[in-house]
Symmetry: C2
Subunit: 440 residues, 2 copies
Amino acid sequence: MSGLNETHDPSLTSWVESIGSSDFPIQNLPFGIFRRKASDEGFRGGVAIGDQIVDLQAVVAKSLLTGTALEAATAASASTLNDFMALGTEYWSALRLALSRALRTGAEQEPQFRDCLVPQSDAEYTLPCTIGDFTDFFASIHHATKASGVYRPDNPLPPNYKWIPICYHGRSSSIEVSGVSVHRPSGQVRPSKDQPPHLALSERLDHELELGFYVGSGNARGESVTIDEAENHVFGVSLLNDWSARDVQAWETRPLGPFLGKNFATTVSPWVTTMEALAPYRAAFSRAADDPSPLDYLTSAANSESGAIDICLEVLLQTEKMQRDGHPPERIGISNFVDCYWTLAQLVAHHTVNGCNLVPGDLLGSGTQSGPGREESGCMLELTSGGRNPVTLSNGETRGFLEDGDTVVFRGWCEREGATRIGFGELSNTIQTAHSLRDS
Amino acid sequence: MSGLNETHDPSLTSWVESIGSSDFPIQNLPFGIFRRKASDEGFRGGVAIGDQIVDLQAVVAKSLLTGTALEAATAASASTLNDFMALGTEYWSALRLALSRALRTGAEQEPQFRDCLVPQSDAEYTLPCTIGDFTDFFASIHHATKASGVYRPDNPLPPNYKWIPICYHGRSSSIEVSGVSVHRPSGQVRPSKDQPPHLALSERLDHELELGFYVGSGNARGESVTIDEAENHVFGVSLLNDWSARDVQAWETRPLGPFLGKNFATTVSPWVTTMEALAPYRAAFSRAADDPSPLDYLTSAANSESGAIDICLEVLLQTEKMQRDGHPPERIGISNFVDCYWTLAQLVAHHTVNGCNLVPGDLLGSGTQSGPGREESGCMLELTSGGRNPVTLSNGETRGFLEDGDTVVFRGWCEREGATRIGFGELSNTIQTAHSLRDS
C-alpha cells in the first residue's frame, strides 16, 4: 500500500490517556477549528487526539516545533484552516509527523505538549475553513438508481451517469458545523398536476449521508488537474449532511437542477481527517464488465490500483420521544464509500477538465452514499421509497420523512486488518420547529 | 416615481470636465475597486465620474467627509466593497449624497476633491467584492423560449417556468473582471447518440448577456426576505457575461443542471451602479392576461407599480480580423431588462423564501436577457438557432458560435425622458486560443 509511513504504524500508542476505542487514536490526527465553549477566546486550529485537542496556537506560542512543521502549525493555528490547506502535502505531512512523534508514548516533549491540551468536552467548533465554493456530486450509483427510481422506476439512471461524475454547484453560505439546528424550509410545491403550485412548509424533509472533501492547494483558472495529480489537491474529509426538501426539489429541479430544495442548510462534522491518515484504507477501483470504461482523463493505473477508499458510513435517528425516553439514536442506514461509482481522484479530474479553478477550502460533496439494499439507504427518500413504505423504529414510531424534533446523526470510520481503526467523530443536527409561514 | 431625490436631478452638472455623453454623469456615481495600472498600490474603492475616479481612500485620508458619509466612505475605501455593501441603504445613500454635493458645479470642496481624482485611463480594476455565492437565474422568458426551443421546438418552456423564478447555483471562483482572457474549455461532448461521448475542446462557445446584482445587507439563515424588503438587500448592478460551452452543457445538464459548461469563466464589468441611481428608470411589472398571477410571496403593490427596471443591454462582437482591420465591435444583439419575466424583488424573495441566507457581496445573475426577435438575442444559441443559421457580420465573416480571438463586448444604459442617461461602462473579454488538450 503506497503512502504508508511511521505515522500509520498500528503499534503506536500515545501518552494521552483514555484513547481506548476513540475515533481519534494517534494514527488519525484530524484538524478542526475550536475554542473553549461560551468563551470569548478566538477560534483557532487544533488536532484531535482521544478526548483531547492539541491547541496549535499554544504549540506555536511555546515554540515546540521547528522548520516546515512550525510553518505548517503557524498557518493551522489561525481562525480558519485555509492558509494551512493551501500549503500542500509537504507541509501537511511535516506537521502530522511532528505531532505523531510528540504525542507518542515516551515522547520527550510530553510535558510541554500536555500543557497544550484542551478537553473536547470543554470545546465548541466552527467551520474548519472559509468555504468559497461547494460542489455536490451524485457519485453513488446505488443512490442514483434507488432515489431516481422513486420517480422513474423503469429508467432510473440518466444516460450520462456512467460517463460523467454528475454534480452541481451547491450553496456555501448555508453550510454550518455539527450541532446547529436545521429549520424546516418553506417553498413552492405542486403535489398534483391538476392543481397550481402553492407555498408550504416542506413535508418531505430528508438527510443525505455524504462525505465532504476539502480542497487543499488549488489550480489556476484555465488549467486542469490530471487524475494522477488530483489527490495532492485534496486536504481531507469530513462527514456531510446535504439536507433536502424533496417536495420543493421535485417541483423546481427541471431544467436547471436543485436549488431551494437544498440550499437552506448543509452541515459538516467539525474534524477533518487528512488524506494521509486514510492511506491504510485504500482499495482498488474497478467497473463491472458490462459498464463502459471511463474516458482517458478519468483513468490511471494508480486510480485503478487504489483510487477507492474503504470508509464505513452510518445514519442514526433519534426522535424527540426517543430522546425524552432516554433511547439512544438508532441506526437507519449504513453504507461504504468503497461502493462509490467514481473515485475522489476522478471527481477532481472531472471538475477541473474545463479549467475550472479550485481554491483552498472549497468543499466537494460525494453525494449520498448508499448500497444496493434498503438498509443501505443514505436518505429517507430511498429508505421509505419516497414515503410510501415508512420505516418503523424500535419504539414503534414510524417515519416516512423527517419530523420536527428529530435528530439525525452521521458517523463514519475506517477499519481494516493490520491497521488501527480511525473515525470521523459525529455529525448531529436537530430539526427545528418551523418558523411560521409568511404566506400560504 | 418613488426614491427620487436631489442626486437624480437632471439639471445637476459637475465641475469634473468633459463628462459629455459619458456613462458616468454625476447622477450615476457607481462604485468599483481600482488602482493605478501596473503599480504596486493597493486596490481600493473608487467612484466613477466622467473619465475620472474619485479615490475614496484619498477622500478619507484628507478628512473631506463627516458622519455617516465618512463611515460609509471608510468602509468603501477598503480593498473590497463587502463591508460597505453590508452597511445598508442609509450608508449607501449618505455617501452618494455627500459625493453628489462635493462634485457639483460650484461645490466649495472642488479643490480638495480635485486632488482625489485618478484618470480612468490610468486605472486597472479587480472584482468589486469577494463573491461568496453566485446564483444565476433564467428570468427572461424570451431567452427561455428561444434557447430551449433550439432543443425542444414544440414545448420549449418547462412547466414550472411561469411559477418559479428558475435558477441554479453558479461558480464563484471563476468570476473575473472585464478584460481577462477567457479560455476555450474542454469537456465531455456527445455529438451523436450512436457514439460514446469523448473529451474535446468546446466547439459551441457562447456568451450570455446578463445583469449581475450584488447583495448588500444579508439575512440570517432560516429567515426569509419579503418582496417589499427585497430591494433594500441589493446594493447595485453590473454587466455580467455567463460564458457557456453549449456542447458540454447539453450532455451534462440532466439531471442536476449546468456545471462544466458554465463554470470555466464568468465575467463582470468593474463598476457597480447602485439601486438608488436606478430610481428614475423604474417601470411597472405586469403579466399577460393568460399567464398565472405570481404566488402571494412574489406579489406586492410596490412591485406591480415599479418592480421592473428599464435597462438597455447590447452585445457587440469584434473578430480578430475586425480588430486587425480597425473595425470597431459590431452589434449582434440588443434587449431590455424591462422585458424580464421576473423582477429583481421577486428573485430575492424567492431565493430566501426557504430561509437561505444571502451574504453581502453575493452575486445574483439575471439570466440571459433577450427580447422576442432574432436581433434581440442575448446569446449565440438564440441568434444562430444553435449554429444552424450563422450570423453574417458586415465584413462578410460568419459566426455560428464564438471563435478564438473573438472579443465580446457588453454595454448597458438607462435613458428616459426627464432623466439623465446613465451607463454601466463596458464588459469586454477576448477568447484565448485554447490550451492543448491533455486527453482526447
